[in-house]
């Protein structure tokens, strides 16, 4: 236990050292002229650009507004994936017949990269909100299903027997036993789903959107505004990290409540 503070300090130290080297190299390459600034703007230029974009519009909106568009799509697609995927996973985990019917279809579809749905997304839903949502859904849906399914299959059989002898119906078995027992697995799945969903979103916006961070980046690229492209990347990274932090925090809170190690 006494080693923990030391361990923590060294971890922070290494992490900090890594960041210093990363930003150092990034700073040195364009400022020394090794790489032309229009190919790689320095971190300071990017930071300034981010600051400008918070108030000035680019591609029809400010950076926060673009983020808000992207995030709205992300939340819609992600929520839809969770709302459909988790119950489907639990059903597949409890009813063998559902597993046998849905399993092969699902196993085939899940290997199609979300971005491969872009042509259909554009065709079916257009470039408004529907297209991108479908692509996020395609990214976030499989981890939701898989983790709910695995969670349901891995429930302690003694708990299932306990529920059975207490006269539990199939419906209550899923909502009161399988679902709560699978929560750690499901939340882990949601983290993966959020990551994939957020990545797919930006990919989708590069092609089928007229707002959002991805759209902003495509427009910037067309104008060779590299610092704006990088501002978009910074925004994507930070928002993705925040989403993950929130989900990790939720995961830890659930584990603590269960008396599991966080």
């Amino acid at each position: 236990m006494e080693e923990r503070p030391l361990y923590l300090t060294s971890t922070l130290l290494y992490g900090f050292a890594g960041l210093v080297v990363f930003f150092g190299v990034w700073f040195v390459l364009p400022t020394t002229g090794l790489v032309p600034v229009q190919f790689l703007p320095s971190p300071i230029t990017v930071a300034e650009r981010v600051a400008t974009l918070t108030t000035n519009r680019f591609a029809g909106a400010t950076l926060p507004a673009h983020i808000a568009y992207s995030f709205t799509r992300f939340i819609s697609g992600f929520a839809l994936a969770a709302l459909i995927g988790i119950p489907l996973g639990l059903l597949m985990g409890w009813f063998r017949i559902v597993d046998e019917i849905a399993g092969p279809i699902f196993d085939g579809l899940r290997f199609i990269a979300p971005i491969a749905w872009v042509p259909f997304a554009a065709l079916w839903f257009g470039t408004g909100i529907g297209g991108p949502i479908m692509i996020i859904f395609a990214g976030a849906f499989p981890p939701c299903v898989i983790n709910a399914y695995r969670g349901a299959r891995q429930v302690d059989p003694r708990l299932i027997e306990a529920a059975e002898m207490l006269g539990t119906s199939d419906m209550r078995m899923m909502t009161n036993i399988l679902l709560p027992a699978s929560v750690p697995s499901i939340v882990a799945g949601l983290r993966v789903a959020a990551g994939l969903g957020w990545q797919s979103l930006v990919g989708a916006e590069l092609i089928v959107a007229s707002t959002g961070v991805g759209f902003m980046m495509v427009q910037a690229q067309a104008n060779v505004a590299t610092s704006t492209v990088m501002s978009g990347m910074v925004a994507i990274g930070i928002v993705g990290l925040l989403i993950d932090i929130i989900l990790r925090w939720g995961e830890a809170a659930i584990r603590r409540r269960r008396g599991l190690n966080a």
Binding site: L159, L166, T168, R172, P180, G259
Partner: protein
């Protein structure tokens, strides 16, 4: 309500002809409100017997009947108390206990009343909002017993319920169970490998042979218990000191010993 009948029951695990026979020709009649303990060498299939009454395990031959009906699936008329408690870790003590009543759609007022009563009976009132992991093993098993008892089942199936508890807690729980059985007698099938426990708790003790398990002998304890007034003693150690207790215990021990020797030889 609550008679259990094993009628020439056999159980083969694995394939019917190449699997291994766990039980063979088990015959046992448990009367209504009778407390029967099954003892036997480990691996003799005593837990399998209980699991067949619970509906967790199918029979390979013969029939298991509860209230003259063949057991087909698990149900709340046959409540089970597991060795490893099997409480729902995400539910509080109260939620664990009321879960079965909610399954039965017992109206809220009645449900609350039943739960409060059983919390009191099992002295769990101060832990009602605790989660299982916050409780000791003995307390967790009290919750598991309360969860079974609250449903007022015809049959209570107890699978080495005190096997995971330390010696002191075990004794307290045994005394508790005797107290419960006096307040609210019902049919109990109790699996254990502890001979003293079986003699102390049961009306009859069924001794199983080694695999393939069958009922080799059924010993009447109740007659002795009544004539020697075991129930007049408050503490388990006082009963265990009685000559009548020692005599029965030794007799069962010897019978079991033969099985163990047979296994080792």
């Amino acid at each position: 309500m609550g008679a259990i009948r094993f009628d020439n029951v056999g159980k083969v695990f694995g394939r019917a002809n190449s699997g291994f026979a766990a039980l063979e020709a088990v015959d046992l009649d448990i009367r209504e409100r009778e407390f029967v303990a099954i003892v036997g060498p480990s691996g003799c299939g005593k837990t399998t017997c209980l699991r067949m009454v619970a509906g967790f395990e199918s029979v390979s031959s013969g029939r298991v009947l509860v209230n003259d009906r063949v057991v087909k699936a698990p149900g709340s008329d046959r409540a089970v108390v597991f060795q490893q408690f099997a409480l729902f870790p995400w539910k509080t003590v109260r939620q664990n206990i009321e879960f079965g009543l909610r399954n039965k759609r017992t109206p809220r007022d009645e449900r609350n009343e039943l739960v409060d009563d059983v919390l009191k009976l099992m002295t769990l009132e101060s832990h009602r909002d605790a989660y299982p992991h916050q409780l000791s093993g003995g307390m967790q098993q009290r919750v598991a017993i309360a969860r079974a008892y609250v449903l007022d089942p015809d049959v209570l199936l107890m699978d080495e319920p005190f096997g995971a508890l330390d010696a002191q807690t075990r004794v307290v729980m045994q005394e508790e169970l005797v107290r419960l059985a006096r307040i609210n007698p019902r049919t109990v099938l109790f699996i254990t490998h502890a001979v003293e426990e079986a003699v102390y708790l049961a009306d009859r003790v069924a001794i199983m042979s080694r695999r393939p398990g069958t009922i080799k002998e059924v010993i009447d304890v109740k007659t002795v218990r009544t004539s020697e007034d075991w129930d007049g003693f408050e503490k388990i150690e006082d009963v265990m000191d009685l000559e009548s207790f020692v005599h029965l215990r030794t007799r069962i021990w010897k019978s079991l010993r033969e099985e163990k020797v047979a296994v080792d030889g």
